[in-house]
Symmetry: C2
Subunit: 218 residues, 2 copies
């Protein structure tokens, strides 16, 4: 076998690469389900409209080699990407804020498929505490520390109202969380050792509206 697949100890990857790797994964998963066995970087390049040298460079980070004139073995590439991206592991998370968006995310089984295992949720509202959403029971905020410790949680998902965002982020950090996935439209500050990932759904809306030129017609 001419093919290697090892996860090399890697430094921080460039974020653009990290954002492209899931595209490649989605693409090769599709090829795999279509029964395709091999794919060249040229074909990936054509189908995804990404430069082929860029693809070779991106894939060099996961240290998988294609065969000359045949390309990458689809099944191996899919497995290697999924593994490298952390999607085949389980990452325990807590949902902070189980209102509209939080509850919606709790019911998205896609997150589970991508390795995110939401094992607990907290909310301040008496209407929500004690109820079940999807597979989890919503707890009171004062149970946060105990939940994080007992359930070995290291990711906090922030889906609280803007005005509570920083305070709840502080509590998550204080409880021992190592990463915060921030869905609020605001910017929060965390100690340098805590990972922060912003998914500001609503700011993407603003970009879309602007590109649509809607603001011109108001």
């Amino acid at each position: 076998m001419n093919e290697q697949r090892t996860t090399k100890p890697t430094d921080l990857l460039p974020e653009p690469t990290l954002r492209r790797l899931p595209w490649y994964l989605a693409y090769v998963a599709m090829l795999k389900s279509d029964g395709v066995e091999y794919v060249s970087s040229t074909r990936i390049a054509d189908d995804l409209a990404v430069d082929s040298s860029q693809i070779a460079k991106d894939l060099s980070f996961i240290n998988i080699k294609g065969k000359t004139r045949i390309g990458y073995e689809v099944a191996s590439l899919e497995k290697a990407l999924r593994h490298f991206l952390g999607f085949s592991s389980r990452h325990n998370a807590i949902m902070a804020g189980c209102g509209s968006l939080g509850a919606a995310l709790l019911q998205d089984s896609g997150l589970q498929r991508y390795g995110l295992n939401i094992v607990a949720g907290i909310d301040t509202s008496d209407r929500v505490v004690g109820t079940r959403i999807g597979d989890i029971e919503v707890s009171r905020p004062d149970e946060l520390k105990e939940l994080v410790r007992r359930l070995k949680i290291n990711i906090g998902i922030l889906a609280v109202p803007v005005e509570a965002a920083q305070a709840v982020a502080d509590e998550l950090v204080d409880a021992g969380i190592h990463a915060i996935w921030n869905f609020t439209p605001t910017r929060i500050r965390v100690p340098q050792e805590v990972v922060i990932t912003n998914t500001s759904i609503y700011s993407h809306l603003a970009v879309m509206y602007n590109r649509l030129g809607i603001q011109k017609t108001l």
Copy 2:
């Protein structure tokens, strides 16, 4: 009154500016609910950890002027930002794919508050077609054109499985949609005049896992 607020006809805004404006909005909305009347760009800069000259530059796009030594009037700034970002208008949208993620988004009332009015949904599954999710009834894909025309829809939200993404995007474009909000982890191609906004939730997860160094310990 020393203050101006007009929406000037503007060219394409830089995307980083467009992504920061919602932060400012979230921030001033919070100040407003706290009863604060004026805010200086220095204070915004301190509280949001953004350079104050950057803030002044960003806000220059919405053509709102602060008063010397007092700063911006909070209520006017909030209103101007909300207006400028298109959040105070109604934008009709259709949910293409009402499975896990699509159904979750349909139940997020936050989108409504940010001007996105999801008025219809389509799905291929017989289990889903004809049911109601949130406020909408799920229709069959062959009703797409008629729905878009009748309900004056110009935004398509793409939350279908990866393997269907491009085909459904093509159908949305064909039905007369002007913008696609792509939640699938794949890249889709659209004609140049169609706006495409990618919100790849799962690729954000990959970035977070990587930053957590989880891939090193596998």
